[in-house]
Every structure is written in structure tokens, then in C-alpha cells.
């Protein structure tokens, strides 16, 4: 027998891959040090990150939280760390965070002079109950719109919310929002039951006419009359007292909520074959989009004042809301038009061949696809609008940025700078990041694998 013992007769067991190719080390080798150039880049980046964090982390965490003024802050820093450089004075946030969140909104509207520290004994609701409840209800109202798997009857809250929100925030007679809401009931009632009698177009015209008569002529006296019989209402809060992050959220939510439907209508109008509608929409979009938002805000705050007769009570916040909304609408219209343009012609023809009319085709076939395509653009517009609300500080409304100036104008906090901006940035980041994550979730959910 020849000796063939050098030939293996059994398979060797599989060896574990070398430590340098798997696990943490493998990942690092592959992703961070895969060549001399990448290695240099990695080291430079790490050095840069270390440089930033080594200043930022001590500044953020080795900080003073309890002090009455910037001088006290500096005193404490000197005692604790021997120097004042590189330590944050968060005491200003500790002192003024309620103001940055709510502006001058009274914590207990029924007792306008009461403060949080000095709560009236009779007040049984917690401080800032009304704005807080408005915010919580906002999420309840948004939930069924944003998440399709929630029970559908939650949509009732969404329908009521636009009337509830102004009443909760501004207060006053409950009958004002009720009568205004009743105008919409008239509008839809006449359309629904009038269609059979006088045809669609006539019913719509009659409904709009009836609703306008109700809102302009009847609703005021009716609301007053009902209030005289049944005085249900909340203590009134003036627009001047709105401020802080609450104002930013209020402006942002209204602009976002209204600009999407208006934007859809404008985008459809721009694609319309009807000459007048098309020209109106193009004119509106191009004019509003061609003007900086700050110009529109100046129109709202300054120019309108010249045109309106002196003493006219046209609420400044409502004026700003209108301007921000039309600005966002114009941008949204173009984003949605992009979505419409991206749809293949076959989709329109398919809808036609099914015998759907214009609105059915839009509702069932065109819009769901066009909006899905436009999600990143729409959310991007929303985030932009939300951040743009800080521009109102230039026309003297006290949003967080405006308030930071007011806070610095107190001698005790004069000279403080980064801490206020860091706090405001954090607030905005939470909201904008939330919107961004939701849009990514929605895109994944609606992903139907066409591309």
C-alpha cells in the first residue's frame, strides 16, 4: 500500500473568519480604514468631532441652573470651576422657560393678574390649562388623519377641532364658534338636499350664498342672542398676550393645515383648461412665490394698517396667519403640481376610460398617487413654513426669537446669548424632526414598489 496519508480523508470544520474581517473590527476596517485616504479622512473627522464635543459637552453639562442673574451665574461658575469661560448659564431658561413657551398668555385666564408662582386659591385647573389642552387635542385631532389604522370615528374630533381651537385659545362666547360651524352645516345641507331640486351648480351657488348671509348677517346677532340666554364662555385672552413657542406652533399649525388643501386646489387650477381659473391660479402662485415672506408680513402689519380705517380691529395674529398660509399654499401648489406632472398620461386616460368624472378621477386615481410622490416636497415645505414663523419677530410679535430679545433687555439677563438660542433651537428641532420622521414612515408605508 502506498502511503497516501497526506490526502485528507475528512473535511475540516469551518473556521471562524479572522477577527479582522468580522464584528466590530471588521466593520471598522471596511468602513473607516479601507485605504490610506479613507483612514486619513476618518482620523481627521474623529479629531474634528472630538474638538467640537470637548467644548460642547462641558459647556452644556458643567453649567449653572439656579441663579437670579447673569452676574450670579458667573459668580457660581468662578466658585465652582475657577473660570467663567466654557460653561452655560441655563438659569435664564430655568427663570424664563414658561415665558419662552407661552409668551404673556395668562396662566389662569379667569384671574388675569395671577402668576404661576402665586396661583389663586380658587383656580382648580392647572396653569396654562387652555393652551396645553389645545395642544393635546391637536394631536388627538391629527391622529386619525395621520394614521389610517385608528378608529374612524375619531375624525369627529378632527372636524370639530378647527372651531374648538380658536375658542379655547382666545376664549369668549362659546356660541361664536358654534354659529360659525353651523354655517358649514347650512353649506353642506343645501348642497346635499338642493342638488335633487335645482341641480348641482345652482345648489352650490345657493349654498354659498346662504352660508355667506348666515356668517355675515345672522351669525353675529344669533350668537349674541344665544349668549344672552345661555351665557357659556371662557375668559377672553387678547392676541397681544400670545407669544413664545405657542405662537410659533399656532401659526405653523394653521398655515400647514390650511395650505395643503388650498395648495391642491391651486395646483389643479393651474392645470385646468378653463382660461380664467388657470390665469388666476398662475397669477396667485407666481405673485406670492415671487415675494419674500417678510414682505408679506410687512404688508400684514404695516400696509394693511394704512388701508384699513383707523380703529379697525383686524387682529394682527389673524393677519399674519393669512399671510403665512397663502405663502405656504403657493409653495405647496407647485410641489403638488410636480407630483401631478410625474404621473404617466395613462393614469389620466385610465380614469377616463373607467367613466369617472373629473372629481372622481382626482379623488380616486390622480391625487392619491400625486400626493404620494409629493410627500417629501410637501413635508419639506411644512418644515420650512414652521421655521419661517420666527420671522414674525421682525414685525414686533413676541415669538421665541422676539422674546429672547425682550429677555435680554432685562438687566439681569443682558449679555446672555447662546443659551437662549440653544433652547429655541431644541424646541424647533423636536417638532421639525418629528415631522420629518413621520414623512419617512408614511413614504415607507405607501411604498407600492413601482420604482
Amino acid at each position: 500500500m502506498t502511503d497516501h496519508s497526506y490526502v485528507r480523508t475528512e473535511m475540516l470544520p469551518e473556521k471562524a473568519p479572522p477577527a479582522s474581517e468580522v464584528g466590530v473590527i471588521g466593520w471598522i476596517r471596511e468602513n473607516l480604514f479601507s485605504g490610506w485616504f479613507n483612514s486619513i479622512l476618518t482620523i481627521l473627522s474623529l479629531a474634528f468631532i472630538y474638538y467640537i464635543l470637548s467644548a460642547l459637552i462641558p459647556w452644556t453639562f458643567q453649567s449653572v441652573w439656579n441663579a437670579g442673574s447673569l452676574d450670579e451665574c458667573r459668580e457660581i461658575m468662578r466658585e465652582t470651576w475657577g473660570e467663567t469661560h466654557g460653561h452655560a448659564c441655563w438659569a435664564v431658561i430655568n427663570d424664563r422657560w414658561l415665558q419662552l413657551l407661552y409668551g404673556f398668555y395668562p396662566p389662569y385666564p379667569a384671574y388675569p393678574d395671577a402668576t404661576v408662582a402665586d396661583a389663586p386659591a380658587e383656580a382648580w385647573l392647572p396653569a396654562y390649562f387652555r393652551p396645553n389642552l389645545t395642544l393635546i387635542l391637536l394631536f388627538v385631532a391629527l391622529a386619525p388623519v395621520l394614521f389610517g389604522h385608528l378608529p374612524r370615528h375619531l375624525l369627529i374630533v378632527s372636524a370639530i377641532y378647527p372651531f374648538l381651537m380658536p375658542w379655547l385659545l382666545w376664549g369668549g362666547s362659546v356660541w361664536v364658534p358654534v354659529t360659525i360651524a353651523f354655517g358649514f352645516v347650512i353649506l353642506f345641507g343645501v348642497i346635499k338636499y338642493g342638488q335633487a331640486v335645482m341641480g348641482t351648480l345652482a345648489a352650490i351657488i345657493a349654498a354659498v350664498g346662504a352660508a355667506l348671509v348666515w356668517w355675515l348677517v345672522l351669525s353675529g346677532p344669533v350668537a349674541d342672542g344665544l349668549y344672552a340666554v345661555m351665557p357659556v364662555g371662557l375668559p377672553t385672552v387678547e392676541s397681544r398676550e400670545f407669544g413664545g413657542f405657542m405662537l410659533a406652533v399656532l401659526l405653523g399649525v394653521v398655515a400647514i393645515g390650511l395650505s395643503l388643501p388650498i395648495g391642491i386646489v391651486l395646483a389643479l387650477g393651474r392645470q385646468s383648461d378653463l382660461f380664467i381659473i388657470k390665469s388666476l391660479c398662475v397669477g396667485f402662485i407666481e405673485t406670492i412665490r415671487g415675494v419674500p415672506l417678510i414682505t408679506l408680513l410687512f404688508v400684514a402689519s404695516v400696509l394693511l394698517n394704512y388701508f384699513l380705517p383707523p380703529g379697525t380691529d383686524f387682529d394682527i395674529i389673524v393677519r399674519v396667519m393669512i399671510m403665512v398660509t397663502i405663502f405656504a399654499s403657493a409653495y405647496n401648489a407647485e410641489v403638488i403640481r410636480g407630483g401631478l406632472a410625474a404621473l404617466p398620461k395613462g393614469q389620466y386616460e385610465g380614469a377616463d376610460s373607467l367613466g369617472l368624472n373629473y372629481w372622481q378621477a382626482q379623488r380616486l386615481i390622480i391625487m392619491p398617487q400625486a400626493l404620494k410622490i409629493s410627500i417629501p416636497g410637501i413635508v419639506s415645505t411644512f418644515i420650512g413654513v414652521f421655521k419661517d414663523t420666527t420671522l414674525v419677530s421682525i414685525i414686533g410679535l413676541l415669538d421665541p426669537i422676539g422674546l429672547s430679545q425682550g429677555i435680554r433687555a432685562n438687566q439681569e439677563w443682558n449679555g446672555i446669548y447662546w443659551e437662549l438660542f440653544a433652547f429655541i433651537a431644541l424646541l424647533f428641532f423636536i417638532f421639525c424632526f418629528g415631522m420629518s420622521r413621520y414623512s419617512m414612515w408614511l413614504e415607507r408605508k405607501l411604498q407600492t414598489g413601482h420604482r
Binding site: P309, D313, D315, I395
Partner: protein, 339 residues
């Protein structure tokens, strides 16, 4: 809220602008509140405190007028205005008076159709430099980099001053006072220039105020005062004489502590009695109650008390009276006779 929008739109159609300009006093009385325009925040002059209460030297003027007109120094709606919105807010009737450290100039008085009713603070533009620069006079600033707020009269004054003295400078344009502080401390400019009161307030916030000096030269006149719009002289008179009452009260030793008592007992000086409403009918002439001046003085004190409380030498702002002293003490505060 929505109702007022609709009403507003309807009134546009129904009324022509300017029809309701007069009778500001009646509007205020009907409203029960004085709408007073203030700055969005300037140390010592106007700022909201932690409870949202406005405090400051200009705010004190608003409160005095509210007390004179309505008898209640807290019956004021403070409307924050920016440098860009202040005059339109006044012209449109959004505010009844503006007390926003506004410099009295001819064009603002005449062309913008305002009526400056007096001066509550004589300011002027100054320079602040770090001590290490070794400069003791503005004349030595040739070639300096200067932090300057854009779009203000200070920018023009600076150019005039350097040209008149045949010097060069490099401007570092800056939007707000807070930003200017940061830039100046970071060494982006050698010199910071703005109103002297602003420089003092800014320096007070520095970690080591002693390392910075405010140069002695004051290069401009900045008389700051409250103003009302054209078209209602009666209302302008009320604001003017409320301010004068505060100034006269200091001259005659009427303070927030003693004014009530003196008003009930009367004094042996006829002019003081006229101010207090004990003699004569000055209040009636203005269309106010006879104790209007008593209320105005009791609201926050006389001119000197307001000054000491908000911007005087014992406050962090630490301004000396200087030009703002009474005329007997060599200042410019000089109230016309109450007769």
C-alpha cells in the same frame, strides 16, 4: 375673532381712512386701556419681566399717562414695536402714543406727521473701546474697525464724525445690540458705537466692565421722547403735560410717597397746588379729572424717581443725570409753568 375680521372687511368698504382720527381720549376712555407702543426690549427703557410685566423708563411714561387719563397705571396695553413698525403703528391708530426711545428729528416730526410732545431723555452717540487699546479720545480712532448697527442714525453720525475729523474707519455692520455685544467681545471690532445709554447698559453686562472705557466724546444729539400722531392736538396736550407734570414734580419735590398727602392737605405754593388740582381748573382744561397729575406722579414717581429707579446711578445701567438733570442743577429738564 373671526367676527372682527369680517367686521374689519366690512368697515373698509363703508368708511374712508382718516375719518375717525380725532377724539383719541374718548376712544381710550371707552376702551378702558391706553395702547402704548414700546420697544421690543431695551435695557432700562422697556423690558418684560419674568411675569410678563413691562418695566422701564419709557414704560413709566406710558403708565403715568394711563394714570392721568384713566386713574389706573396698570390700564395700559403695551404694544411691542420694532424700529421699522413703530411709526406706522402710530399712524394707523394701533397705538395711541409711542414711548420708544425715539429720536426727535425734523423729518420724523414733519414728514411722518407725528407730534413729539417733549423729551424724556437727552441721549447722544458715544464710543466704547477696550482699555487695552490705550485710546483716551475718539480723535485717536483713525483706522479703527467699528461695530455699528445698520439702518440707524448712528451709522450716519459715525460717517459724518470721521469725515469731519479727517479720519478713516472700517465699519462692521451689525443687526442688533445683542449681536454687537458678542462681536465686540469676540474682538471683531475695536470700537462699538451706539447711544451712550446703550453703551453703559452694554458695558454693565460684561464680565469685567472695568476693562472697557466709554470715550468722553458724544458725537450727536439724540433727544428721545414720547410722540403722538398728527390730527388730535387735545390728546397731544395731555401726553405733553403729563410728561411736564412729572418733570415739574421733581422740581417742586412732589414724589410718589408724598403726593397723595400733599394733594389732600394742599401746600402754600400756588403752582404746586395747581399741579395737584387743589387750585385752578388745569385738569378740566385738559379734559381730565382734577387729580390727573396726582395719579400720574403716584404711578411711578416723578421724573427723578423714574430715572433713579430704572437707569440711574444705583441701577446696573448706572447713568449719571448729566443733561437730564433739572435746569437748576445745570441740566435741560425744564417744565413750562403750570398756569
Amino acid at each position: 375673532m373671526k367676527k372682527s375680521v369680517i367686521l374689519g372687511a366690512l368697515t373698509v368698504a363703508g368708511l374712508s381712512a382718516g375719518a375717525a382720527a380725532a377724539a383719541t381720549l374718548d376712544d381710550i376712555k371707552a376702551r378702558g386701556k391706553l395702547n402704548c407702543g414700546v420697544t421690543t426690549g431695551l435695557v432700562g427703557f422697556a423690558a418684560p419681566d419674568a411675569n410678563g410685566e413691562w418695566q422701564g423708563f419709557d414704560v413709566g411714561v406710558c403708565r403715568a399717562v394711563a394714570a392721568a387719563v384713566l386713574g389706573d397705571p396698570s390700564a395700559v396695553e403695551f404694544v411691542p414695536t420694532t424700529g421699522k413698525t413703530r411709526f406706522t403703528a402710530l399712524a394707523s391708530g394701533e397705538i395711541d402714543m409711542l414711548a420708544r426711545n425715539t429720536t426727535w428729528t425734523l423729518s420724523r416730526d414733519v414728514d411722518l406727521k407725528n407730534e413729539f410732545v417733549g423729551v424724556n431723555y437727552y441721549d447722544g452717540q458715544g464710543f466704547m473701546v477696550p482699555k487695552g487699546l490705550g485710546v483716551s479720545s475718539a480723535k485717536e480712532l483713525n483706522g479703527a474697525t467699528v461695530c455699528i448697527q445698520t439702518g440707524t442714525t448712528t451709522e450716519l453720525n459715525l460717517a459724518d464724525y470721521f469725515r469731519a475729523n479727517d479720519m478713516e474707519y472700517e465699519p462692521v455692520p451689525i443687526e442688533t445690540n445683542a449681536e454687537a455685544q458678542q462681536q465686540y467681545l469676540a474682538g471683531a471690532c475695536d470700537v462699538y458705537t451706539t447711544d451712550a445709554s446703550g453703551l453703559a447698559a452694554t458695558r454693565a453686562t460684561f464680565e469685567s466692565p472695568g476693562d472697557h472705557v466709554i470715550l468722553p466724546e458724544i458725537i450727536s444729539k439724540e433727544p428721545l421722547g414720547p410722540l403722538v400722531r398728527h390730527g388730535d392736538q387735545e390728546w397731544g396736550d395731555i401726553v405733553r403735560w403729563t410728561l411736564n407734570a412729572l418733570i415739574a414734580a421733581e422740581e417742586f419735590g412732589l414724589t410718589s410717597a408724598n403726593v397723595e398727602e400733599l394733594a389732600s392737605n394742599g401746600t402754600d405754593k400756588p403752582e404746586v397746588n395747581r399741579i395737584l388740582g387743589v387750585e385752578g381748573t388745569l385738569g378740566e382744561m385738559l379734559g381730565l379729572e382734577s387729580d390727573w397729575a396726582v395719579n400720574a406722579i403716584a404711578a411711578g414717581g416723578n421724573y427723578g424717581e423714574l430715572f433713579e429707579k430704572h437707569i440711574g446711578e444705583n441701577t446696573p445701567v448706572g447713568l449719571a443725570r448729566g443733561l437730564n438733570a433739572q435746569w437748576q442743577d445745570g441740566g435741560l429738564m425744564y417744565a413750562p409753568p403750570f398756569r
